[in-house]
């Protein structure tokens, strides 16, 4: 048959192909070339390699011989299979299990160290083993941890100690060896690892980087638009999970560090105990000798890049230093406040007692952000200044708290005990420093030893402590107390003092009563009653048992500034640090000053009278009248001064002068602080001076309820500055009473703002009229009359509203 000239049809894979074998086979010459119909299939090899010599040879050989010939194989580099130590290397036998081997995929991660020891390490181990026992696995775990903890930067010895739970000497030895070996190591790690890709793409062409993550855009189905979005979400989720893991890791680390610190502290304490280092001398010595840098760098390096740093981790001093910094900060701030008292600056930090509050709160905040460099900025030796401060003020608004990382000295017994001969008293005195005998005015009873604190929102909290004298203390009769106080009124100084201390008499039954009394008299034992600072007037008037002599007594000093005097008196009595003599001289000075000022004041008043001819005089008289009758406190004084000064701003300045002069005279910061507070309060609260007048008059009116009032200082926003002033006064309880009534008033104001404001406005408008003022003082007296000792703050509020209406 002749060859057909037509083209063969395309090969159809679905069409059956008959198979011809052997003798059936047609003559191949009859077959048509199918080259064009069935395209040559590619071999699937790279073209260049396809042409390689040995392959071509092998292919042709196969086609010729139809089977492989030895000479026609493609040569490959040889492999040997004669490792003779194989049986020694792979010890033991493995029996083939009957069942198919099935493994749990996540069991694969056993906790074996990745690091394998080499012969060099063995030498070290042999050397170390002469002194101590270290197993190869132990060594490998150590190196493994070191390697894994360090990236391009090696871990420090300090970190190594935290990482490795081994003996210090061993750690040092292994660490040093590791550092040396690591430096000589050609690779980036002693555990050989595949090079990792870098995110910046610089390693995209690095042939040694392998197993890159497939970060490129995932192929998503086109008909599902959200696929990509969800993919991204998953990525985000994953990222966040890994962040969570990081945080947990860091927490783990932190907790470990904390534990470490605890152990170390324990160790130190034990060591000190063994050494008999009770006073801390040895510790200090060691500390001074020791370069502080080491510690700080260690800690900072360990926590490098750790954002949520917690400071307590074995950083010894930063708290202390930051504390100090805070203190100095406050001092600086104080100066600023002195210049321009504003509403927001009503925090009057003159009293050191007030300082611990901001200090502590700030350092609390600081706990959450780490600043390791701080340590270097401050001297490491604990400063006695802040220590002393803390000791002087045991009952600060926020009681002293022990802080981690701070160095505390032992209490200075010599200071506290020096004045007490009696050991029993000394014991009591210890209590005294934190807890005082306290008597409440309403209900009138002695609550025993208590400590005052200012809580949240200015609440006054009494911390009571149980003592062996408690049963006695409970029996104290407030009336006894009153009688006692009134009787002791003759002594100018001890009048306030002894009144409060009277309770001591009862409580100290175990001592002899007279003994205690004498102790109290001689100002050795302190007791206080959170009562109002004006014991002479309002209190005495309300308390029937009181004698009018009290008032007379006050009238003797009836100048406007008497109130202040008393305030300072109170302050002094509480602190108990000033002797009678001092007080007397001080009082004299004060009187002198006040006279001068009064003179000044009146001069000015007169000069201002050109505009207000009739009123000022009446005003002045009314002021003095008020004073003589009611005002005995700083608040009263200010009320008066504010009233007087209302028409003329110049007047306020005078008051201010007075205050400052008082400060100077006293040499005691607290009282002036109080007055300052008051003053600024006045300024702050009174857009028109009338308001302040009303406030202050009422202040006088409610003095009896004062001890309750601090508790009323609630969270009304307007009271905020007041609260601050409360804080300042908190320690000096008598002073508190000055301010707190205002708070009450503020509360009332908030409860009924609009009418009050209206009335106040009218007051402000008619400020220059005498009647306006007198009524207000009258109101206060009415209020006083109405007022009963049992009345609570609420009554006060009610009265306030009444007073307002009258105005």
């Amino acid at each position: 048959m002749s060859k057909l000239s037509f083209r063969a049809r395309a090969l159809d894979a679905a069409k059956p192909l008959p198979i011809y074998r052997g003798k059936d086979m047609p003559d191949l010459n009859d077959c048509v070339s199918i080259n064009r119909a069935v395209p040559q299939m590619p071999t699937g090899m790279e073209k260049e390699e396809e042409s390689e010599h040995h392959l071509q040879r092998a292919i042709s050989a196969q086609q010729v011989f139809r089977e492989k010939k030895e000479s026609m194989v493609i040569p490959v580099p040889e492999a040997e299979s004669n490792v003779n130590y194989y049986n020694r290397l792979y010890k033991g036998e493995f029996k083939q299990p009957k069942q198919f081997i099935h493994i749990q995929p996540f069991n694969l991660d056993n906790e074996q160290p990745d690091y394998d020891m080499d012969s060099e390490d063995e030498t070290l181990l042999n050397r170390l083993n002469r002194k101590m026992e270290i197993k190869p696995l132990q060594f490998e775990i150590m190196v493994d941890r070191l390697e894994k903890a360090s990236s391009s930067q090696l871990v420090t010895l300090q970190e190594a100690k935290l990482l490795l739970n081994e003996d210090d000497y061993l750690i040092k030895a292994v660490y040093d060896y590791w550092v040396r070996k690591r430096k000589n190591c050609r690779g980036p790690s002693l555990i050989p690892q595949i090079k990792q890709e870098k995110r910046d793409g610089s390693t995209n062409n690095d042939p040694y980087v392998a197993f890159r993550r497939r970060t490129e855009k995932m192929q998503t189905r086109k008909n599902r638009k959200n696929d990509e979005a969800s993919y991204e979400k998953m990525l985000k989720l994953r990222r966040e999970f890994s962040r969570a893991i990081t945080i947990l890791e860091m927490i783990k680390r932190r907790e470990k560090t904390k534990r470490e610190l605890l152990h170390l502290t324990l160790e130190v304490v034990e060591k000190r105990y063994h050494l008999g280092d009770y006073g801390g001398e040895i510790l200090n010595e060691v500390k001074l000798n020791r370069p502080e840098k080491e510690m700080s760098t260690a800690s900072s390096a360990l926590h490098n890049g750790n954002h949520h740093k917690v400071q307590e981790c074995k950083v010894k001093h930063p708290h202390h230093s930051s504390l100090k910094e805070e203190v100095s900060d406050v001092v600086r701030q104080k100066k600023k406040y002195l210049k321009k008292p504003k509403i927001e600056c009503v925090v009057t930090p003159q009293q050191p007692s007030a300082e611990p509050l901001p200090v502590i709160s700030k350092s609390d905040i600081k706990q959450y952000d780490f600043h390791s460099s701080d340590e270097d900025e401050f001297p490491q030796v604990p400063s006695p200044a802040s220590e002393a401060e803390e000791e002087n003020d045991p009952d600060g608004p926020c009681a002293f708290r022990r802080r981690a990382g701070c160095q505390y000295y032992a209490p200075r017994l010599d200071q506290t005990n020096s004045s007490y001969e009696n050991s029993e008293l000394a014991e009591l005195d210890k209590l005294r420093f934190r807890h005082c005998l306290t008597t409440l005015t309403i209900p009138r009873r002695c609550i025993g030893f208590a400590r005052r604190r200012i809580g949240r929102g200015g609440r006054v909290i009494m911390d009571r402590i149980s003592t062996e004298h408690d049963p006695v203390l409970r029996q104290i009769d407030p009336e006894m107390l009153n009688s006692f106080s009134s009787s002791s009124q003759t002594l100018d100084f001890s009048s306030n003092f002894s009144r409060t201390n009277a309770s001591n008499k009862h409580c100290e039954n175990r001592l002899s009563l007279s003994e205690i009394l004498s102790n109290i008299r001689s100002c050795r034992l302190q007791c206080f009653q959170p009562r109002l600072l004006n014991p002479q007037d309002s209190d005495s008037e309300e308390c029937t048992s009181r004698k009018p002599g009290q008032t007379v007594n006050n009238k003797r000093v009836s100048a406007a500034s008497v109130a202040l005097l008393n305030t300072s008196k109170n302050g002094i009595s509480v602190t108990g640090g000033i002797t009678e003599e001092q007080f007397q001289t001080h009082q004299q000075q004060l009187v002198q000053m006040q006279r001068q000022q009064l003179a000044q004041l009146q001069q000015k008043q007169q000069s201002q009278h050109s505009s207000q001819q009739t009123h000022p005089k009446a005003q002045g008289s009314s002021t003095s009248d008020c004073m003589s009758k009611t005002l005995d406190s700083a608040s009263a004084h200010f009320a008066a001064s504010a009233v007087v000064s209302a028409p003329a701003p110049g007047r306020t300045e005078v008051t201010k002068e007075q205050n400052t002069s008082h400060n100077n005279i006293n040499g005691v910061v607290q009282p002036s602080g109080t007055s300052r507070t008051l003053y600024s309060t006045n300024m702050a609260l009174s857009s028109s001076p009338g308001i302040s007048t009303v406030q202050l008059v009422r202040t006088v009116g409610h003095t009896t309820t004062n001890h309750l009032i601090p508790a009323l200082c609630t969270s009304s926003p307007q009271t905020l500055p007041m609260n601050n002033s409360c804080l300042t006064n908190a320690v000096h309880l008598n002073n508190v009473s000055v301010v707190s009534p205002v708070n009450v008033h503020i509360n009332t104001r908030t409860s009924a703002p609009s009418p009050t404001a209206l009335k106040l406005a009218t007051v402000a408008a008619s400020m220059d009229r005498v009647p306006k003022v007198t009524p207000s003082s009258a109101i206060s007296s009415i209020a006083r009359e109405n007022h009963e000792p049992e009345r609570l703050g609420l009554n006060g509020i009610a009265e306030t509203t009444v007073a307002m209406e009258v105005t």
Binding site: L11, A13, L17, C31, R66, V83
Partner: protein, 527 residues
Amino acid sequence: MAEVGEVSEGCRLPVLRRNQDNEDEWPLAEILSVKDISGRKLFYVHYIDFNKRLDEWVTHDRLDLKRVQVPRKEAKTPTKNGLPGSRPGSPERDPRKSLDLALPAAPASGKSLPGPPGPPGSGTGTVPVPVQITLRFHLPKESEAEPPPAPPPGSQRPTKRKVEVVSPATPVPAATETSQASVFPQNGSARRAVAAQPGRKRKSACLGTDEDSQDSSDGAPSAPRMTGSLVSDRSHDDIVTRMKNIECIELGRHRLKPWYFSPYPQELTALPVLYLCEFCLKYGHSLRCLQRHLTKCDLRHPPGNEIYRKGTISFFEIDGRKNKSYSQNLCLLAKCFLDHKTLYYDTDPFLFYVMTEYDCKGFHIVGYFSKEKESTEDYNVACILTLPPYQRRGYGKLLIEFSYELSKVEGKTGTPEKPLSDLGLLSYRSYWSQTILEILMGLKAEGGERPQITINEISEITSIKKEDVISTLQYLNLINYYKGQYILTLSEDIVEGHERAMLKRVLRIDAKCLHFTPKDWSKRGKW
């Protein structure tokens, strides 16, 4: 006569090589690298037209210094690992004067490119080069060479491979050649083209020019495709990956001489021997390390599930995502013997099937193949390797057979990922041939009818992809067009050859021993 010192990277010269028949040959070789070890120079040579696995370090006495062809240019490939900044070019790659005349456009763009900083020596140019008529293919390509300045107007840049006849006999002093030096960027295709030596049975017609130009058109190496684990010729641009970097690997009883580059940690590449744990394949730099490791490693089999066991042969399935460290170690080892394997990306989308042989020490790895969990191109094998000590003993075919058994269970046809290596091609062809012939010969005539079968049927029975069936039938020359239809003819020698081969093929996969349930990876999210 060139001095030894003048033989530098890129030079071509005959190098003494002993072939498997223990005969000396002097194949032409290219110097890829030169190193100095205690005053003795060593040359890394690639025998042209031999597989890279035969590349080796040779001493100078094996170089035929009389016939050195010096590279013309110092080009701008980045310096790597202290190697000189020149990509080893070959002298033949360089255009000659005659060429320039034939191709006037070329020098215009070439002039601006830098010449060689150091001429290889004045004497070299005059060395008579054996007369060669070479088919040479030059592929000017902006992407690989530095973008040349705008060509002068009127000059046409050749866009396709040119075939040039060159007479290398023309002595060309190297120094004077600088102006034309870089007219033609060097790339893999140039090297390939050069390989066409006289006496080679190479048909220039066979070369698909389009293919090649596509291949080399992406000069700037970018990230390889994300699927599959084989990469085309891209890596050849990089001198580092062209050279073996591991001298010897100890694995269990065996000492293996790697064939290709593998990205083991670089600090380990300098070692005379790299020690691998036979079971977990972890690498260590000393025997002592391995010893220590073995006290901690209690694996006696690949860390996966055994899915097949017959006799001593077992297969273990390892998930590249779940068992990363083993998968990576396996890939690193395999890369030593697979040229086109890429380890660019992680192992997550792959499954690894490791074939082991059991003895009292445990399950020893013989070979493996990897497989994409989801293949878009019907690949049922990504990389496949029989470790050298086990080669040419039927294990490779066993691996292939197993891969098709898996495909049968999956109910799919499959094909190995391309490119195939030479050994891969031979193995697959052999397997395909035997499998298909087995089927064809098993067909009995029914009722006097001539047995017949469709290609699809063959594909379905064997799970061999249709294209592979056709190519095998073609290769075996079984398919013929007779009387208006295609027929399959089984000649006597084919039948005999097959029967002989099947007698030798004792290792077979027994489908009954396979315990395998395919997973639908698409339902499990990606990989």
